[in-house]
């Protein structure tokens, strides 16, 4: 079916014209609300207090979600919302990494707020079309496409029965359909959000945000991966959201001081040009440069996080990815990004599934994907990793969760907790590439064991216990989830600070709050509980700020100024922090300093914690971690590093391992490490201004200026 035939099948449900509004200093001060139960479309002004306290991006998402949902709203209730919000800095093209959107919803796997950070052109185009956020509520009866046309200033909802579901096709179809012509200069003005078939059948659905790559003449995809937002999207019967922009001008944000932004942007561009080739090589390898480094430091998860390195890891070394990625292309996921790290494999011929034999472009793999669907599942074949990456993307599921949940299922299979009888014949052994591919296709088709695995690690644990009599205690030890979200791909056993960086997060164990492994485990810079607590305050607050602004984290510290080592606090990259303060002030006309920057984040971070408490979570018990995140669960793990663990027992615990069985040594190590984590919780809660139970104290909320009545009402019940 050609594009005009596809469009002829559309049934308009609503079209609303709206008054255009230009951005002023990064804001339009209004949001777009769409209810799919009623096809109601509204433009809502942003109250002054919302702008002051919540800033933008994730902050706006949280404010709108709190107001739009009940404390007991479930992920598949009609009143659950998906909110997509860029931030005041989003859309500038003079500094790297300024095209991000933050997406929030009540998650199907955690039952609390999930937030996910994503590139692509949608966020900037939404702003240029006149809105600081898009709020989607309700459920359509049939599949719909929502179109925000910033060139004609209309919002429409159309039933759209004929387009494909899977993202690599749907993004192409809709980009062509809504572009003024097939000229790439027009095609680049359209961006599409979509999910895919597996988002309908699993709890780990994600959203693809597209941009049109002029040089390749193809749609590229970036993912809002974590926490099942794609599952919510398809549950609402949204097939896609399309935004069309009139194009990008020099200063669409109408900033206060463009020269200041340009100066910092030029400085950063010089660093990329001169230093990146000797530092992380982001421009050539993206985050995949980390694979062999993590293996060298025993941090690369293999076999469901049992181990941190593998003899075959060279097969997925960064030089392999370097050779697979097409070099010399403009790979920024937003205009003007000089980091250019959104690498892609071109002309990849698929060997399995519904698109077998087709030649496709694959966005990635990034580090998380290479480790998740690769080493953690015992797969060290780069082409299989690329294929799994492609299908995760087009089917609309999260590569991190897919990797961690499949690794869990594989360990359960090898332990005999599940058998071929339960998996429908799939031999889910570590390294079985065919089984992994079949599993993902089952998720795409909504069949067989794919549907059970698609429940996620927490869902599988419950299912295996209820249906197969599996031992919940053991599964809790090896099932790498916290709060219901699957762990991202770093082994945290030897870094207590990183254990907190994972399990003390608001949304679940994603590394985007704090990545402290080198500071803690390698540099030995934060040896005391107080040191670790300080790091677990500063870095989560600092990194929250990117999500308020519509910024990417990578340009902060994946290339660093030459003199960074001589600064007072090199881990913070002070010059880049100063860049961000300067740019924020230059966009908005404000006059904040780096302390106020952290305060902005503290308000939103603690609001999110309170949001979790409002929903019956967010307490100390919810910050518990699976023991595998902290130490060796099994004799096999202990024996793999016996000399190392024995030494630690003697030096750290003060117990002589001589004459003890491995089982005894596992138990002694566990008791010590579990106790240390509890002490860490105490120290971090104290530093963050929380009670022993992990609840923000009312006095602290007053001090930071987040003592809103609805917040205090919740917190006062838990002081």
């Amino acid at each position: 079916m050609n594009i005009s035939e596809l469009k002829s099948k559309h049934k308009p449900l609503k079209q609303m014209p709206y008054e255009p509004k230009e951005l002023y200093r990064g804001y339009t001060d209004r949001t777009l609300y769409i209810n799919l139960d009623t096809n109601d479309v509204k433009i809502k002004p942003v109250p002054a207090q919302m702008k002051e306290k919540f800033i933008g991006g994730k902050g706006y998402g949280l404010r709108l979600l709190w107001d739009g949902t009940r404390p007991d709203t479930k992920w598949n209730d009609n009143d659950n919302e998906i909110i997509i919000a860029p931030g005041p800095i989003c859309g500038i093209t003079q500094y790297a990494g300024a095209g991000k959107s933050l997406v929030v919803a009540i998650s199907p796997t955690t039952d609390i707020v999930i937030d996910s950070n994503v590139g692509g052109f949608f966020g900037p185009f939404l702003k240029f079309s006149g809105f600081d956020a898009l709020e989607l509520q309700g459920k359509a009866k049939n599949d719909v496409i929502i179109v925000i046309d910033g060139t004609k200033n209309t919002v429409s909802i159309e039933e759209a029965p004929a387009e494909e579901i899977d993202s690599h096709i749907l993004a192409e179809q809709l980009t062509e359909m809504y572009s003024d012509s097939t000229d790439p200069r027009d095609m680049k003005n359209v961006s599409v959000i979509s999910a895919g078939h597996a988002a309908e059948h699993t709890m780990i659905g994600m959203l693809n945000f597209s941009w049109f790559d002029i040089k390749r003449k193809k749609c590229r995809l970036k993912q809002a991966g974590r926490g099942g937002i794609g599952t919510v999207f398809r549950n609402k019967k949204i097939k896609a959201v399309v935004v069309k922009s009139a194009g990008v001008t020099q200063d669409p944000n109408h900033v206060a001081d463009m020269e200041a932004i340009k100066e910092r942007g030029a400085r950063f561009a010089r660093e990329m040009k001169e230093l990146d080739p000797h530092q992380c090589r982001m421009k050539q390898e993206g985050t995949a440069h980390l694979v062999n480094i993590m293996n060298d430091y025993n941090l690369l998860p293999t076999h469901n996080f049992k181990f941190g390195s593998h003899k075959d890891a060279d097969n997925i070394h960064s030089r392999v990815w370097n050779s697979k990625f097409t070099q010399g292309m403009n790979d920024g996921c937003w205009i003007g990004c000089t980091m250019n790290c959104a690498k892609a494999v071109d002309n990849f011929v698929l060997k399995s599934g519904p698109y077998k034999g087709q030649s496709v472009i694959v966005d990635g793999p990034e580090y998380e994907t290479a480790a998740g669907v690769g080493s953690n599942m015992g797969i060290f074949n780069a082409d299989t990793i690329i294929e799994l990456n492609f299908y995760c993307d087009t089917y609309g599921i999260d590569t991190i969760s897919f990797g961690t949940m499949t690794a869990f299922a594989m360990e359960c299979y090898e332990k005999g907790i599940i058998t071929k009888e339960h998996t429908g014949g799939l031999e889910l052994r570590f390294g079985n590439e065919d089984a992994a591919l079949e599993l993902i296709h089952q998720m795409g088709r909504g069949e067989g064991f794919g549907k059970i695995a698609g429940l996620g690690v927490r869902g599988m644990k419950k299912y295996f216990a209820e249906h197969y009599g599996a031992d919940m205690g053991f599964m809790n030890d090896i099932g790498m989830e916290n709060k219901g979200l699957e762990y991202s791909q770093y082994v945290s056993k030897e870094s207590l600070a990183q254990q907190g960086g994972y399990a003390m997060t608001n949304k679940g164990p994603q590394h985007d709050e704090a990545w402290l492994i080198f500071m803690d485990m390698v540099n030995n810079h934060i040896p005391t509980f107080e040191n670790k607590a300080e790091a677990l305050h500063y870095f989560p607050m600092f990194r929250t700020w990117f999500g308020l602004m519509g910024l990417c984290k990578l340009p902060w510290n994946d290339v660093e100024p030459e003199n960074n080592a001589q600064t007072d606090e090199p881990a913070k990259v002070p010059e880049h922090v100063d860049n961000y303060v300067t740019i924020y002030n230059a966009v908005t006309g404000s006059n904040i300093n780096k302390q106020e920057m952290i305060r902005q984040s503290e308000r939103v971070y603690n609001f999110q914690r309170t949001f979790n408490i409002r929903r019956g979570y967010g307490l100390r018990k919810h910050d518990a971690q699976p023991y595998r995140a902290a130490g060796p669960v099994t004799v096999e793990e202990y024996k793999s590093l016996e000399e190392f663990y024995d030494k630690k027992m003697k030096e750290d615990i003060g117990v002589d391992p001589a004459g003890k069985t491995v089982d005894e040594k596992v138990a002694i190590t566990r008791k010590y490490r579990e106790n240390r984590y509890e002490q860490l919780l105490d120290a971090v809660y104290e530093r963050r201004g929380w009670t022993k139970n992990g609840v923000p104290k009312i006095d602290y909320m007053k001090k930071i200026g987040m003592d809103l009545p609805e917040v205090i009402e919740i917190l006062s019940k838990h002081q």
């Binding site: 980390l290 990545w515 080198f518 390698v522 030995n524 510290n557 994946d558 660093e560 960074n564």
Partner: protein
Amino acid sequence: MGKITVNGHEIDWNDNMTVRNVLDRMKYSFRMLVIKVNGTIVKREDWETFPVPEGADVKVIHLMSGG
């Protein structure tokens, strides 16, 4: 056998030990490093030859990346 300390961990020292030998021994393959030997910063171009004396306190600071 003599010892040196690397990031607070004691390891064996050997004759003619250089910064490069320390990095290899510790499997420190990350590229964004700042190295100090007894408090003196060692430039990248000197890593291959800079001598590490017995008893030295070596700091190999990994500038945070990841995530």
